[in-house]
């Protein structure tokens, strides 16, 4: 179906995938420490990394649960809304991988920002598959090991504020947001959402301010001029040959 990759090309894709996996995976240490500091047990922390496996959603979940178990519904809602993009990645990746049966289940669980970005960045179909699976598995294994280390170390070291872990979480959200701020529209939506969330915060239970602020995204839907960004992920340089763009047949942007 597709031509085999040369050994050099294979090595390059694997190197790229592993460097992304290491950079992302090691950050699981912060998640583990932060989750335990938010009041979750080590087992619950590990369960999030194994089952939920989506960094942004996991941080949002423990961040909201930190204010107390009453934050449950808001934590679920925020984590789920943040996960919507993974479904969109799946649409693109499914056509690229052409998987069936149980492999489809594994591929779905490994569908995150990083695996999608590395996979779809490859010009050849074989390299795209290799990139997706290597990055996905690499991040999954390293993220889970790092989570355990962080949960154990974090538990042993006392008040996380002393180590600036609360600021680390805020900075992590900044870094996740940064690549998406490619247009003035995106910056305007981000600024509006942040202001609304902070203004609502004193008057609503934990998690609700974030949900209220998420409504600014609806503005982009009803107000055509508000948002012209391409569909996520924005970092894809080009589609792999053999896959069609999400915008329909023969659309070139």
């Amino acid at each position: 179906m597709s031509t085999a990759l040369s050994p050099e090309r294979r090595a390059r894709v694997i190197r790229q995938a592993l460097s992304v996996a290491v950079a992302t995976g090691t950050y699981g240490i912060s998640f583990g420490a932060l989750s335990v500091a938010s009041g979750l047990s080590i087992l619950q922390t590990q369960a999030l990394s194994l089952l939920l496996f989506s960094g942004g959603s996991q941080f949002a979940f423990v961040g909201i649960m930190a204010a107390g178990a009453s934050g449950g519904p808001a934590a679920i809602a925020t984590s789920t809304l943040l996960g919507v993009r993974n479904g969109l990645y799946g649409l693109q990746v499914a056509r690229m991988l052409d998987v069936r049966g149980l492999r489809k289940v594994f591929a779905a669980q490994l569908t995150i920002d990083e695996s999608t970005a590395v996979g779809v960045a490859q010009p050849e179909a074989a390299a795209a598959r290799l990139g997706f699976w290597t990055t996905g598995l690499g991040v999954f294994i390293l993220w889970n090991v790092a989570t355990l280390v962080g949960a154990i170390v974090g538990d042993a070291m006392g008040d996380p504020r002393r180590y600036g872990l609360d600021a680390a979480a805020a900075a992590a959200f900044c870094a996740l947001l940064w690549p998406r701020l490619k247009s003035k529209d995106a910056v305007a939506i981000a600024a509006l959402a942040a202001v609304i969330a902070v203004l609502v915060a004193p008057h609503a239970p934990a998690g609700v301010p974030v949900l209220v602020a998420a409504c600014t995204a609806l503005l982009a839907g009803v107000w055509r001029r508000a948002h012209h960004d391409p569909a996520p992920p924005h970092q894809w340089p080009h589609d792999a040959p053999g896959t069609t763009g999400t915008a329909g047949p023969e659309t070139v942007t």
């Binding site: 479904g87 799946g90 805020a170 902070v198």
Partner: protein, 104 residues
Amino acid sequence: MSTWTALLIASALAFVLKFLGYVVPASWLDGERTTRITSALPIALLAALVGVQTLTSAHGTVTLDSRAGAVGVALVALLLRAPFIVVVVLAALVAAGLRLLGFP
């Protein structure tokens, strides 16, 4: 709702969303308006989380403390194209340092 219940529901929904991408025909989500909303949603959510995590206390009151300084440094690092892990560690170090100096 117990933490375990919330955790398992959130995990199940996360997987359902991922799996939907593999079974739903791509044409269902091709609408221009849908695309604009789904593209803007992560931006709004992440920005709201940055705002809340940087400027509010556990009880929701608006506070200006070491986190603001740390996030400011993180933004400068991002402008200078620093990698993810550097941005995060730098922010932690700045916040820890400011608190060591006696800032809240």
